[in-house]
Symmetry: C2
Subunit: 409 residues, 2 copies
C-alpha cells in the first residue's frame, strides 16, 4: 500500500488528551498497512504564549529570532506524538523540519520550501516506522530554522506528499470538509464530496478558510490528492482531486460553491490622464508599500482620461487611499474610496465556456436589490464586490439560485 | 581583549523580567570590549512542564523523544535572550547546540560532548556579535539532538570556553560562590575567593552542589579559569583556577573546605572467603545493575576470609543489599547494612604530603563523640562516613577545628 501523509493542526493537538486521540487515529491507519508520515502544528496556545514572551523582552523582535523561538512549538508536538505512539506499540520517530530534509529560502517568518531531501524519511518508512515531521518549518542555507508563514503547516504536508509520491495527503482540521457556502450563513450548505484543485484554489483565494490557497496550489501543481477531514469525528470529508480532473469536466454541470470575504475595501481614481505607463504609476507606489491589491478594473479611456478602481484589505485602506491620492493629483484626477465592503464569488469549472453564469449571478443579485460595486471574472469564477452589510444575503440568494443544496455529485 | 563564556541557569532566566536583567549584564560585559559567548538553560519551570506533558501522553517515553522535547526549552531561552539584547542595541545571534557545532555521543538523556566545531561561533564573534548558545544539548552522528544529562549546562559552557581558548568561563548561579562549608549549617562559613580545580572537583564529587563535578573536571583538564558568581548581585564570587596551581602549592597551609553529603548508605560483607577475583565477584553484579559504588574498604584477610564494606546512594540500598547478600552466600559470609548515613570530607591540596590532617580529623570527630563508620582518603581529601544525624555537627566542629573561618587567603 502507498504512503499517506497526515496533517493535524494546533487545535487537534491542543492538550495531552488531544495528542492521545491523534495517536489512536494514527495507529488505526498504520494498522491498515499504509506507510505513514504525520505532520503536526504547535499545541493550541503555545505560539501565542511564545509571542507574548517575545513581546515582553523586546519591542521589535528580529524575524530570525522569532523563527528560532516559534519553531520550538512544533518540535514539542512531534516529540509528544511520538511518545504517545510508542505507548500504543507503534514504532515512530519525530523529526524536526531540518531533520526531515525541508530546505527553505526567502525571508524569516515567511519562508518558502525550496526542496526536500527525503532520505531520512524514506529510511524510517522502510523500517516500518511512522515518521512525525514538525510542520511550518525548514532550514535555510545558513543552517537557520525558518518558519513558513501563513498556511505553512498545510504546505509542509502537501510538499511532503509530493516529494514522497504519496497516495494522498489528509488534512485534519476543525470542520468536516469544504462546503458549498459557509454553513453559518447558509444552513442548507452541503459538504462538497469531491472538488477539483483549480476550484479549491479559487475558493481558498476568494475566502474559504479551511485550507490555505498556497497549499492547494502546491497540491494542484504536483497532482497531490488531498482529503480535508475533521479531527474530531469520522467522516469522508472533502477530496481535492490530484489529477487535473479533465475526465470529470463534461459531467460537472454546476458551480462548486459560493465563497465570501468581508475584508475588502475599494479605492477609485476618476478622470485621470491616461497613456502608456498610467497603470504602473498607479500601482507601483502600492507595491513598494507592500500593499496587496486584489480586484482591478479600468474603464475604457474617454477623451484621454479613464477611471481605475481596485480593492485592498481594510487594514491597508488608509495608506492606499493616501498613495492613490498623490497619484491622482499628479494625473489631474480625483480619488474616492469605500472601506466597508465584501466580496462574493461563484466558483466552479462547470462555468468554463458557459458565459451565462456571470449574467445569472448579476441577475440574482439585482433581483435582491444588492448593489454591485466591482466585478472580476476568470475562467472558473465570478466575483462581485458588494457593501459588507449585504454579503451574507448575497451568499444565501446565490446558493439558492444556483441550486447548490440540491446538487448531486 | 579575550573571549568570555558566560552561563546562566534556569533560575536566572525564569521570567521575561529575569531575561531582561541578564541582557543588561551581558550588555555591560560586551561594552567592556570582551568577545562574548553566552549559554543559557531552559526557563525555570519549563522543563518540569514538558516532562509532565510527556508523562500524560506516555507511561515510558523514549529517551530520544524526551531529548527532542526537552531541548526545546533551551531553544526558547536563547531566542528570547537574543531579542532582549537586540532591544538594547547589542548585536547578538542565538544558536542551537547543533548550530554551535556541539557534537555529542553516548546515550540519549546523558550525552557526552565528543567535539566542538566552532566555525560558526567564531564567525559571529568576528562580526562583533554576542553568540548565544543553547546549553545542555548537542547533535549526534545520526543528526539527532541529545541532551547532556546532569550538569550539562555547566559542561556546555566550560567546553565552549575550552574550544574557543576563552580568557575565562563565568557560571552564574543562585549563590555568590563556593563556601568553606554549607552556610546553612556553619554560619561562619566563608566564601572561598580562589580554589584549585583539583580541590573544586573533589568538593563537587563529595557533595558541594554549586557546580557539577563533570564541568569542573573538564575545566581542570583544559585549564579553563571558571568564575562562579551570583546572577542576582554583583560580587567577585569564587575563581576556580585555570592552571594546575602549582605556583600556589607551597603557600597554601590549610584545607579548602568541608563538604558533606546526606545521601549515603553502607553495606558490609563479613567473613567472606577471599582469593583472586573476590572483589570482582562482589562488585560486578552491582555494576551490571547500574548501581554506583562510592567508598570501598577491604579489611586485610585473616584465615582466608576478609570483610568488604562499601557505600551506595540510599535509592540503591535495597537492591544493593539483595545483590551483596547473594554474593555473601556464595562465599560463605554474611551481609549487613546501614541505610541512614552521611559523609563528611575535608578537601584541600594543602593536605598533600601532610598526613597529619587525617589524624586531626579523626581526633576532632572523636572528641565530639561522633562515630566513624568508614574512612576513605586520597592525596587531597579525607572522607569519613558517619550516622546521618551527626553530619551537621561534624561539619561544624571540623570547620572550627581547621580554623576555616579565620583563614586569610
Amino acid at each position: 500500500m502507498g504512503i499517506i501523509v497526515q496533517k493535524y493542526g494546533g487545535s487537534s493537538v491542543a492538550t495531552a488528551e488531544h495528542i492521545r486521540a491523534v495517536a489512536e487515529r494514527v495507529k488505526r491507519v498504520r494498522e491498515s498497512g499504509h506507510d505513514l508520515v504525520v505532520t503536526v502544528s504547535a499545541m493550541g496556545k503555545q505560539t501565542d504564549r511564545l509571542l507574548r514572551l517575545a513581546g515582553e523582552v523586546s519591542r521589535d523582535p528580529s524575524p530570525r529570532e522569532i523563527d528560532q523561538l516559534l519553531s520550538t512549538g512544533e518540535l514539542q508536538s512531534v516529540a509528544l506524538l511520538a511518545m504517545a505512539l510508542h505507548d500504543r506499540g507503534v514504532a515512530a520517530t519525530s523529526l524536526t523540519g531540518p531533520q526531515a530534509g525541508m530546505k527553505t529560502t526567502g525571508r524569516y517568518g515567511s519562508g518558502v520550501i525550496s526542496g526536500i531531501q527525503p532520505g531520512r524519511l524514506r529510511g524510517l518508512l522502510d523500517e516500518g516506522q511512522v515518521a512525525i515531521v514538525a510542520g511550518f518549518q525548514g532550514v535555510n542555507t545558513l543552517g537557520d530554522i525558518m518558519t513558513l508563514g501563513r498556511g505553512g503547516s498545510d504546505t509542509t504536508a502537501v510538499a511532503l506528499a509530493a516529494a514522497l509520491g504519496a497516495e494522498r495527503c489528509e488534512i485534519f482540521t476543525d470542520v468536516d470538509g469544504i462546503y458549498t457556502a459557509d454553513p453559518r450563513i447558509v444552513p442548507e450548505a452541503r459538504r462538497i464530496p469531491v472538488i477539483l484543485p483549480s476550484e479549491m484554489a479559487e475558493m481558498a483565494w476568494r475566502g474559504a478558510k479551511v485550507m490555505h490557497p498556497r497549499a492547494v496550489e502546491l497540491g494542484a501543481l504536483y497532482g497531490v490528492e488531498i482529503h480535508v477531514k475533521s479531527s474530531f469525528e469520522e467522516g469522508p470529508g472533502t477530496i481535492i482531486m490530484g489529477g487535473n480532473g479533465l475526465e470529470h469536466l463534461e459531467t460537472r454541470e454546476t458551480v462548486a460553491g459560493i465563497v465570501h470575504d468581508l475584508d475588502v475595501s475599494r479605492i477609485t481614481l476618476t478622470g485621470i490622464k491616461t497613456g502608456p505607463g498610467t497603470m504602473s504609476r498607479v500601482f507601483s507606489p502600492l507595491a513598494e508599500a507592500g500593499i496587496s491589491v486584489d480586484v482591478i478594473v479600468e474603464s475604457a479611456p474617454k477623451e484621454g482620461t479613464s477611471d481605475v478602481a481596485f480593492t485592498v484589505r481594510r487594514g491597508d485602506f488608509r495608506e492606499a487611499l493616501r498613495l492613490a491620492g498623490e497619484v491622482a493629483d499628479s494625473l489631474d484626477g480625483q480619488v474616492e474610496g469605500e472601506e466597508d465592503l465584501g466580496k462574493v464569488s461563484v466558483v466552479g469549472t462547470g462555468m468554463l465556456n458557459r458565459p451565462g453564469y456571470a449574467a445569472r449571478m448579476f441577475a440574482t443579485l439585482g433581483e435582491a436589490g444588492i448593489p454591485i460595486r466591482l466585478v472580476s471574472t476568470s475562467e472558473i469564477q465570478v466575483t462581485c464586490v458588494l457593501p459588507a452589510g449585504r454579503v451574507e444575503e448575497a451568499v444565501r440568494v446565490l446558493h439558492r439560485d444556483f441550486e447548490l443544496e440540491e446538487r448531486d455529485v
